[in-house]
């Protein structure tokens, strides 16, 4: 695992609360981005990230230093997000629509670009598993090997899911205009 992360985990386990905050500062946005992509709704993602960090705060004592902390963290994130997404997909879509209609943005600092909204809407049409591989690949920029380790599946399965996700997204994204296309 990364030296810095291992050191921060050890400091946290020895009772240093600043270490846990450092872990949050390093990974909080990444975890939020993945959670947002998978659950599909801003406030649900905020609640989910809070739950995840509270959970790992208590469970880091069980962390085995055999894998990277980031792999372990993303595995926890993905499992929570997929469960939450399966539980509340319908509710989340309604909630998101209400928020979008009411606020006109996605709640962040980069809101308002058509490509962001169109991609977000398209991804919400995918199953949580396909959304997850797309999120880990394009949002987090992880390799196929890293995605396979996080999801505990084979690299072949990662590629199959990615292919299926792309095939599903292709008609939905065909009219998206990129700045370079204009």
């Amino acid at each position: 695992m990364g030296g810095d992360d291992a050191e921060l985990v050890r400091k946290h386990l020895s009772g240093d609360p600043d270490a846990f905050r450092s872990l949050y500062e390093k990974y909080g946005e990444k975890v939020f981005a993945s959670a947002y992509r998978i659950v599909g709704e801003y406030h649900a993602a905020v609640d989910l990230v809070q739950e995840i960090f509270v959970k790992i705060h208590g469970e880091l004592r069980n962390f085995k230093f055999e894998s990277k902390f980031s792999t372990w963290l993303f595995r926890v994130t993905v499992n929570h997000a997929i469960n939450r997404s399966s539980e509340g997909t319908r509710h989340a879509r309604i909630h998101e629509k209400i928020n979008r209609d009411g606020r006109g943005d996605l709640g962040g600092t980069k809101e308002g670009r058509p490509v962001d909204d169109e991609v977000h809407r398209a991804l919400q049409q995918l199953s949580p598993k396909l959304r997850t591989v797309i999120s880990l690949r394009y949002l987090e920029g992880l390799s196929y090997e890293e995605i396979a380790e996080i999801l505990e599946i084979s690299i072949g399965t990662v590629k199959s899911r990615l292919f299926l996700a792309h095939e599903t997204l292709r008609p939905m994204l065909k009219d998206v205009k990129l700045e370079e296309d204009v």
């Binding site: 609360p17 947002y36 962040g108």
Partner: protein, 150 residues
């Protein structure tokens, strides 16, 4: 190459990791469906890489800290510093107390002697005082001088 094999190898091809890209290219040239899939993935790649997501709200950490109790607890490092400072203060107090108790109480005998030897000693005392660090040292010197003279 079959369409299934093409699909299995498409991501390796895009990464430039295929040992025999010619076979892959040959299938693409002969299969419109696979060629369309490849172009779709390339286009999706660009779109997905360009798409952004909102950022987390700034109050997320305070909420997490509150939930795990860190907003109430004194940080561990500060506790350690506080314990160290308290221990140092206690040690300093103890040393001071012991030193005070062991030091015999001084009586103003020397001063009295100096005063008793007369106005001359008082003037000498005042003249010597600035040269010494404290009154006791000046007094002792005057006492010695006048004891020897008288």
């Amino acid at each position: 190459m079959t369409c299934e094999t093409f699909r299995d190898r498409v991501f390796d091809f895009l990464q430039g990791g295929l040992r025999d890209p010619e076979t892959f290219e040959a299938h693409r040239a002969s299969c419109a469906s696979c060629a369309g899939a490849l172009e779709g993935i390339r286009r999706n790649d660009r779109i997905l890489s360009a798409a952004r997501v909102p950022t987390a709200p700034p109050d997320l950490w305070p909420r997490i800290a509150a939930a795990i109790g860190q907003d109430r607890a004194i940080p561990f490092r500060r506790v350690r510093i506080a314990v160290f400072v308290a221990a140092a203060a206690a040690l300093l107090l103890a040393v001071t107390l012991v030193a005070t108790l062991r030091t015999p109480k001084r009586t103003p005998t020397i001063n009295l002697v100096v005063q008793e030897v007369g106005p001359e000693s008082q003037r000498t005392f005042k003249a010597l005082l600035p040269r010494y660090e404290d009154v006791d040292a000046a007094t002792a010197m005057v006492d010695t001088m006048f004891r020897n003279d008288y």
